[in-house]
């Protein structure tokens, strides 16, 4: 085997330009796969981190009636916060949020919104809720930058909101935008107004009630507490996983085509080699190789394209990938437009398993396309191979 590797290396280098063309095409797919997957991994991590920081922390309890995709469930989706969480909430390790449907009237237009009540003193989430404490003539409120842009609202603006209380009676008040925050998480930004929890509770006549309880620590959580059901961190970020999976399918098609092109080139080289190098094959047999050993030699030779491609890919790929990881990639689309947690600039992350996995994939695929045509050698008649007369 050691001899086969040595010989294969010599033969490959000796083949010159053809080898390098194959190697370069193969190394493109190498680097492409790692870069493309790295972007997805980076996106995945960033999206999950942003979601945790801004919205879900370590996990949540949801009111059993709450369905984030159906705003009409909100009239039912609230209940009194269980007493057993009192300590945790006081420590700041759990943050209740009450959600109700409402309407906002910026510049006389009308817009459906969610009004969310949160404790101004919380520090579990990155929302700048401290600004809800600001004493003012109107109700202090904070909104995200996408909400602000869509409704042309600025810091210091007064605007009217309207809601229904628990009895179904409409009421209205004026809010003062005390802060506008910037986040990659559209689900705490688009179409939402954040105000103080106790204000909202009294506005809608639901004292001590909430829709969601976000907690810091997921350990030893009961699956359900009263009519509150546990939403683990994992289940809450599962849509990120889903989305990444979808993206990765689309993306794979692109580099699989590239990889197939490279493999075809190697396959072609192998087929050609076996025809053109019959005399050499015969010579190996005459010198004492079995035909199976020659098959091995040619397979190793073909597979070694992948090794050279890994080395070549590393030479230009590592600087390129490092540069990408530092500089980031902009997809030219904001999270609000995309409707999904996504940073404006994504920083690819290359894990060891990604690199090893890609290397293995390319190696195995290359070995298979090298072995396939080489099997022919085992059926060759060495005397005819020596004469170079096989068709």
């Amino acid at each position: 085997m050691k001899l086969a590797i040595k010989l294969a290396f010599k033969n490959l280098i000796g083949a010159g330009l053809r080898t390098w063309l194959n190697v370069i095409v193969l190394s493109f797919s190498f680097v492409m796969i790692i870069a493309a997957k790295g972007i997805l991994v980076g996106w995945d991590r960033q999206a999950k981190k942003d979601m945790a920081d801004w919205e879900i922390a370590g996990g949540q309890y949801w009111n059993a009636n709450y369905d984030p995709y159906d705003a009409f469930t909100l009239t039912e989706a609230h209940s009194v916060i269980p007493g057993q969480f009192k300590d945790e909430i006081e420590r700041g390790d759990m943050v209740p949020v009450l959600i109700t449907q409402g309407t906002i009237y910026p510049e006389g237009r009308m817009q459906s919104i969610l009004i969310k009540g949160i404790d101004p003193g919380q520090s579990l989430l990155e929302l700048p809720t401290g600004r809800l404490d600001t004493a003012a003539g109107a109700l202090p409120a904070i909104i995200g930058s996408n909400m602000a842009r869509a409704n042309r609202l600025s810091k210091g603006d007064y605007v009217t909101i309207r809601w229904r209380d628990a009895n179904g009676t409409f009421d209205a008040a004026e809010i003062l935008i005390t802060d506008i925050f910037t986040t990659n998480v559209p689900t705490v930004d688009v179409g939402q107004v954040w105000i103080a929890l106790d204000s909202l509770q009294s506005m809608v006549l639901m004292p001590g009630e909430a829709t969601i309880l976000t907690f810091r620590d997921q350990e030893n959580r009961e699956a359900g507490v009263g009519d509150w059901k546990l939403m683990t961190y994992k289940s809450l970020v599962s849509e990120v996983d889903e989305m990444i999976k979808t993206k990765s399918v689309g993306q794979s098609i692109f580099y699989i085509i590239l990889l197939i092109l490279a493999l075809l080139a190697i396959f072609d080289t192998q087929v050609l080699s076996i025809f053109r190098r019959q005399k050499e094959i015969g010579t190996y047999v005459a010198l004492g190789y079995t035909r199976k050993e020659v098959v091995l030699l040619f397979t190793v030779e073909g597979a070694m394209h992948a090794v050279l491609a890994a080395v070549t890919g590393a030479i230009y790929g590592i600087p390129l990938l490092v540069w990408l990881a530092n500089k980031g990639i902009s997809l030219g689309m904001s999270s609000a437009e995309f409707g999904f947690t996504m940073a404006d600039t994504m920083y690819p992350v290359y894990s060891g398993s990604l690199i090893i996995g890609t290397t293995l994939l390319v190696m195995i695929a290359t070995t298979i396309v090298s072995y396939w045509p080489s099997r022919r050698i085992a059926k060759m008649n060495p005397t005819e191979a020596l004469r170079g007369k096989l068709q």
Binding site: N11, G14, E280, A286, L287, K292, E293, T383
Partner: protein
């Protein structure tokens, strides 16, 4: 059995499939070759010289009859045993040299020793010896495309001889060489035959080669026509 016997063929017949029928290239050859011989198979084109040499070299197998090379029967040995026989005991020299083009002269000559898994110091010594026999120590680092035909054939001889095999099979080794080179090479082989007691079996119709042979086996239409001993 004679201990000095290297090759023995008994009623060796070889048929090749040809279209619908068969073509009989060897029609019952009975031959023996002893250790240290310098013998040639001589005959016109198509008389079966290469076919016989290939079967003796275990690259092909007989259709009928038996061929015993150094005590083992070529027809019944496994591919692995045949490969071992070639690796350990046989050297081939071809008309078209068949050198490995991307390897240097040194590496070409070293190749059979790598297959024998000899240590690098042993290999170095043996390759240097072999290159000295053929007078190519100064071309060690060159590659075959940079050599003349005569030099290539000398590399091929060194490659065949480096492991000091018992038997060297040479198929038209001078066909691509001019007279001066042919004589040069033949003299090298005669000397190796004498110094190392290596048995040489040629296939040729070249008079220059025939002049050096001590025994001449004339083939005609797949049969032994006559045998002359010098």
């Amino acid at each position: 059995m004679n201990n000095n016997l290297i090759i023995e063929t008994k009623h060796l017949t070889k048929r090749f499939p040809m279209g619908k029928g068969e073509f009989t290239a060897l029609k019952g050859i009975d031959l023996t070759l002893g250790k240290g011989e310098f013998t040639g198979l001589i005959g016109p084109s198509g008389s079966g010289k290469t076919t016989l040499l290939n079967i003796i070299g275990s690259l092909d197998s007989p259709t009928e009859g038996e061929v015993i090379v150094m005590g083992s029967s070529v027809g019944i040995m496994s591919a692995k045993e045949a490969a071992r026989l070639r690796k350990e005991n046989l050297g081939f020299i071809f008309q078209s040299y068949n050198l490995l083009q991307v390897h240097t002269v040194y590496e070409n000559v070293e190749f059979p020793l790598l297959l024998l898994k000899l240590s690098s110091s042993e290999r170095r010594k043996m390759v240097h010896d072999a290159l000295e026999w053929v007078g190519l120590t100064d071309k060690m680092k060159q590659k075959p495309p940079q050599l003349s035909g005569g030099e290539c054939q000398r590399v091929a001889i060194a490659r065949a001889m480096v492991k000091r095999p018992s038997l060297v099979l040479a198929d038209e080794p001078t066909a691509n060489l001019d007279a001066a080179n042919s004589h040069n090479i033949l003299q090298t082989m005669v000397k190796l035959n004498q110094d190392l007691m290596t048995t040489f079996l040629f296939a040729t119709h070249d008079d220059k080669v025939i002049g050096y042979l001590r025994r001449k086996i004339y083939l005609k239409d797949g049969l032994v026509d006559k045998i002359e001993t010098a």
